[in-house]
Homo-oligomer: 207 residues x 3
């Protein structure tokens, strides 16, 4: 059903690019949270990266529609493209909340979660390279375990953070804003794990 995967396959090249784009967006969010001055200007630049991500997703889907023999399951290519796009979208959505809600500071927990998103995106880059081999190997396993670990850790951080904003010391409007920001940060980490799980499945099927 599948053609023998070639390491220079167009799909792999596009996956590499979208992984680089996700890391770029993740790094921009980290810098954004470090210094929220001129947030509207900085958000525009994150939006530009989001548009790059949209364009890449579109290219992957176009390639998918034109290719009869794909290197692995069409459905998995589709899901990787979708989830990578989600990661970048959620990063932009997180940043946009600060502008939309006129929030001028970032909590330590938000910064920590943002840094974990960068770490996940950094792991996804070699994962996309390993997928070319289509073989389960130590490298892949370690990358996936690390992403899973970051997601579990992030879940704890965000739950504690959310618990802390509900103690009654913070003004209710701020509570609502931060509840949503933490949700976006947590969801971004969740999608990083989703990508890793799809790649794990691809490798299992082709082992």
């Amino acid at each position: 059903m599948f053609k023998k995967a070639q390491k220079d396959d167009k799909f792999f090249q596009l996956f590499d690019k979208v992984a680089e784009t996700a890391l770029k967006a993740a790094n921009m969010l980290e810098e954004f949270l470090e210094d929220l001055s001129d947030s509207e200007e900085k958000l525009k630049k994150i939006k530009d990266v989001e548009h790059e991500g949209d364009a890449l997703q579109h290219q992957i889907l176009e390639q998918l529609n034109q290719t009869f023999l794909t290197p692995f399951d069409r459905e998995d290519i589709y899901m990787i493209a979708k989830y990578m796009d989600d990661i970048i979208d959620y990063i932009e959505s997180t940043a946009s909340r600060f502008v939309m809600y006129n929030v001028n500071y970032a909590t330590d927990d938000a910064k920590k979660l943002s840094s974990m998103i960068s770490s996940c995106c950094k792991e996804i880059i070699p994962l996309m390279k390993e997928i070319r081999n289509m073989k389960e190997n130590k490298n892949i396993k370690e990358l996936i375990i690390e992403i899973n670990r970051l997601e579990t850790e992030g879940d704890k951080v965000s739950r504690t953070a959310i618990r802390n904003i509900f103690t009654g010391e913070i003004e209710v409007l701020e509570v609502i804003k931060w509840r949503e920001i933490y949700q976006f940060l947590e969801d971004t980490l969740d999608v990083c794990e989703d990508v890793a799980n799809v790649i794990e499945g691809v490798v299992m099927k082709n082992a």
Copy 2:
């Protein structure tokens, strides 16, 4: 793999019907927001249309399960049915928030978003007709571009609207209610775009 698509195929007829039903629901939401008196009674009528939508989705899935040779990818038929059902569900959910939360007025932004949902649903009707041709043509492209434009525009309107309810002038309970209403309106426009994207993919694959 696919039978030659026939323009009177049962699937196309059901897609036409569900597109008409979505437009009906969208128009009812617009009228609902114009005059929120007797909102509980009016909501019941929107619920009836939602049930029509459910029945149509069920018919499409039944047809899908009974048909061996579908006019195009089963997965795409499934997604179109799902998203069209989502549009109608979200319209009902939006209206139901006014009743559930005892909200007796609609903001101009909510009316604007509701009118954009109607516009999207109006574009989806000819799009469902064009899908019969399975060929990329100027008409299809323009319809899809217009739906994308409406979604992008809607995103801006809802972000500004949400920003405006968080300025501290509105009572917090109202903020929570309106945050949710705007989310449903925005999500409805998102799903309109999702349908357009699936149709674009179908046309690309069969070009």
Copy 3:
């Protein structure tokens, strides 16, 4: 395309197990809401069951990736595994809100919804057994109708419950917390219905 389904097929055994696990989690949530003392300790036990569910989902996907001839559509096996995992995840998420938000009481409506989730999970167990027959029969129809009924009824209960917390008598922070708890309870019932719908589709296709 499919091998003749064997009643002792590995997939059916795993589906039985995951259905039992969902019911266990649902029952634990009911007990949890009855007595919220030591909620953090009790939550840990629900988390353990959630991990059992994760392990079962992983086994089903592994089995799916290793099996060439599945008893029915791969996509449907995947969706049943996903939705069953969602049910258990949402149950844990509901319970965790009480700990995270330091909520020490459960409303009657929350208890009612939790009991309906248990009822749904109880119906899913024989449904998983009936799926072995791959034939539409009176039993299956009745089980699906009952789950649909519970979901519709649950929707009414949660809408009324949400309406009641927005009357202005409850402190806003509590409103936010309970809005989220009711959403999780409602979403859990929704996924129960999603599972039933997938099973209905499997049976229709193989009738």
